[in-house]
Assembly symmetry: C2
Homo-oligomer: 502 residues x 2
């Protein structure tokens, strides 16, 4: 006999749809009353099992479930059982192993309750299109409720995974983003969310494994810092005993100290904090930084090559090992497969400007790219080179932080780069100034208070190798790889200027 | 010809020791003067290379080095070149490939400067005891200074790695911890520090790889939270736009939400924050938490088994793959090899109390263990069972947080546990209450404001599997595994009530 223990939540869709909406509120109240009663009875039942009424299947179903007593029941009921991203149809039918009472009990288990079942796995003749396991169903012989869900859910999972267009066309409900995020514990149960965050877990693993194989060392850097690192704007303040401190906007200074401390190549994965009042689709006040820093021998392009190769390994790993997740997300949010080249396309800033000028954009040589221009450039690059991933190298010196190494050949430019996925920035990086004197000059030029960055500058006084690196936003990588349109979809518990919960 | 490009820092020990301490200050000043001059000359030289004096080896050495002009030089000089945890002896000798000027230049390169060299690797007849590469030395043919260190270092690396005892006995200098931490960039260059943090990187990797193989999903949880999770004590406050927020004391509530959200088994690695004014050898205000949470089927011992097995995999991985690092640390800080059993020893709290009573300790059944008693118990367990790692199970309910599942068999105890390494706690964990009603009761019993934990309690209303987990302190694991005595040694940039820098 096949015995399969399945733990998951039931979606007793057929029964539920039969209930009229009108009666729902009334039922709710009665249900609550019944639930309390049931609970009492359950306790009693547990204590005095021997005195229970005669039922040959009494050890086949559980004690903690809520009974909605008005429903008329047939001789069988269907359930859908879910376990993470998979689900299967299950059946309780009156017979050898199940009584009428047991069928009634099963039919009344609230949606999203957790159950343990013992069942026979049987092949079905017609594919069950609505389940991930389409060729089999479970014939339940024992069923116990482990944790009962409240009857009314804040949102329906089937609404939360409905593609926007489909919802509108057919007049069926979809769930808006704030409702999803307010009830994240339930929203995360959808196949889409399960797929997104399993893929995100994969991105982190691929990032670390690739770098570990390249000889990088993982470091842990402090998030509470004594001085705002990059000039002091957009930084959160923390009360620290009798003084105050700040939350690190990036681990960059610490990564650099590790390079000066002889670690040669380092990476870290951790939260970074930005007190920017930006309410856009791609800004969070707290996100996960995938950070890289490394010494190089001759040219900072060694660093670019290491980073782009790491990204390519991530893209390949996702493509090869996360197809199920990608396709699951695509069902709700259709998008083109992510394209990349080997080796990665590297354009210089001046080349990009020429492309933009040709497309009619007016901007100066030393201006930074606006978000619309970044996106336009992404489209132009995709048309010309057929890639969703590329590097933009040699940014104007004026638009980069003070610790960016100037271009030795042209004082207007710098040894710095951004990387883009589907036309949006996912990484910013550069060769850093590793000479204390030049660093001091650059800080003065940027009107930064030297006293505040003394410890940082002093780190370069005792031998510092040429080095560079960059910081990648994990949520953006996931969003853009999957072709999603809001970074909150790829942050489990997103933080923005208006959201601090759950 | 063997060509070996070595990048590292020089320790021109022989030359340095020949200088009398008396003359050091004077030399220093003159050196600084000379350095300035040298710099000017270097610039000039770079610009007007063609006009330079005739030297057949002029393309064999660099331009940016400081010249200490008083020293008399011989026909050769020895250097020690270091690259991360390895070092090698190198020689510049007047001959075909090096001039007298070149030997002089090499001898005067300041300690800790970064150099590029081209050299022949030659076997030596007598082992070079002072270097990690004992059988060979480098005969330098070209040498360039890439980054020149200032002449006076805040601390000497050889002092920083000297065992405490040896320093005292022989009257040689050691470096106190605050000096080390104040100059962490240099202190991290010691073989001891390099070994500690490479091992720490290994702990993280072993932790994640073991759990990934067990089907765990990595999650990222927010550090800025809207309500102090565990009653409100010891929490840092953050200014958050027009309101205020807190830094998470643990990812526990979020881990639990992920379990309720169907992820089944999750882990995360990230910073946790404790605003405790504890100035001890084992408390930090910010440390790295290795967190685990998982649903279980029948008994929370499934969780204990998963965690202890993960710890055992870490211990084995360190033992098998990090012997070099362990032995390097042992040279400075001798300790016994770390011992563990398979399966891991699990003691009940009452058994531990009996052992302590027998050893003369007076404490009540429901009292928590004091730190001295934990350490004593560690020694008693080591004597009796020969293990440095064990689990203490079934803590008194009264000393655990409100969300701890009570023991069904004895209301005085709970389904909770700590884990110990060398007698110190490294993990605290428990089965959590997964029932909203019981959780509410327990919170009321602990006099916790229900309004503040509403979102948390609500997470359990829509189906929640029985689950448990725990949080491990990364720095403590590294400290105790290596037999070190201060957690600041295993935190790269430690944070405590008195230290926020570097």
């Amino acid at each position: 006999m096949t015995k399969e223990g399945v733990q998951g939540a039931t979606e007793e869709e057929e029964q539920q749809q039969a209930q009229s909406k009108k009666g729902l509120k009334k039922q709710q109240k009665e249900a609550e009353k019944a639930a309390k009663k049931a609970e009492k009875q359950a306790k009693l039942a547990a204590e005095q099992q021997s005195t229970e009424e005669d039922d040959f299947a009494k050890d086949r179903y559980g004690v903690a479930a809520m009974v909605q007593s008005q429903q008329k029941l047939g001789k069988q009921c269907f359930l859908v059982l879910r376990q993470q991203q998979f689900n299967v149809q299950a059946l309780v039918a009156v017979g050898d192993r199940a009584s009428k009472q047991m069928v009634k009990f099963a039919a009344n288990i609230t949606k999203e309750s957790i159950v343990d079942v013992e069942a026979m796995v049987r092949k079905v003749e017609q594919k069950i299109e609505s389940c991930s396991q389409q060729d089999v169903e479970l014939h339940i012989e024992r069923i116990f409720v482990i944790s009962q869900s409240e009857a009314r859910l804040p949102l329906q999972l089937e609404d939360a995974v409905r593609p926007d267009g489909e919802g509108e066309e057919e007049g069926r409900a979809t769930v808006n983003q704030d409702t999803k995020l307010d009830n994240r514990v339930i929203d995360l149960r959808t196949t889409t969310s399960q797929a997104i965050f399993r893929l995100q877990s994969g991105v982190c693993q691929l990032f670390r494994d690739t770098l570990t194989n390249k000889g990088f060392v993982e470091i842990q850097t402090p998030k509470i810092i004594s001085a705002a690192s990059e000039g002091g704007a957009n930084v959160f303040t923390v009360s620290y005993f009798k003084t105050s401190a700040y939350l690190a906007q990036s681990p960059q200074l610490y990564k650099q100290m590790c390079i000066c401390a002889d670690f040669d190549k380092v990476f870290c994965v951790g939260p970074v904090f930005r007190a920017e009042d930006s309410n856009t689709h791609r800004h969070l006040t707290e996100f996960v930084g995938l950070d890289i820093e490394m010494a190089f021998n001759y040219h900072y392009h060694e660093v670019i090559d290491s980073i782009t190769d790491t990204m390519v390994q991530i893209f390949k790993g996702l493509r090869d090992n996360f197809q199920t997740e990608i396709q699951t997300v695509n069902k709700q949010f259709p998008s083109e497969p992510f394209k990349f080249l080997e080796p990665t396309l590297r354009l210089e800033y001046t080349e990009a400007l020429a492309m933009l000028h040709e497309a009619g954009v007016e901007m100066g040589d030393e201006d930074d790219l606006s978000t619309p221009n970044e996106k336009l450039l992404g489209r132009l690059v995709k048309e010309k080179y057929d890639t969703d991933f590329y590097v933009l190298d040699k940014y104007p010196l004026a638009v980069r932080p003070f610790y960016t190494m100037p271009d030795p050949n042209n004082p207007k430019y710098s040894n710095s780069y951004d990387m883009f996925m589907r036309g949006e920035e996912i990484l910013s990086g550069a060769q850093r100034v590793h000479d204390a004197q030049l660093l001091t000059e650059r800080a003065i030029h940027h009107q930064i208070d030297l006293e505040k960055i003394k410890a940082y500058i002093d780190s370069f006084r005792y031998g510092a190798p040429p080095h560079g690196g960059g910081g990648i936003g994990l949520e953006r990588v996931c969003m853009l790889y999957l072709g999603l349109h809001n970074v909150r979809q790829t942050s489990m518990f997103p933080r923005d200027p208006k959201r601090l919960t759950p």
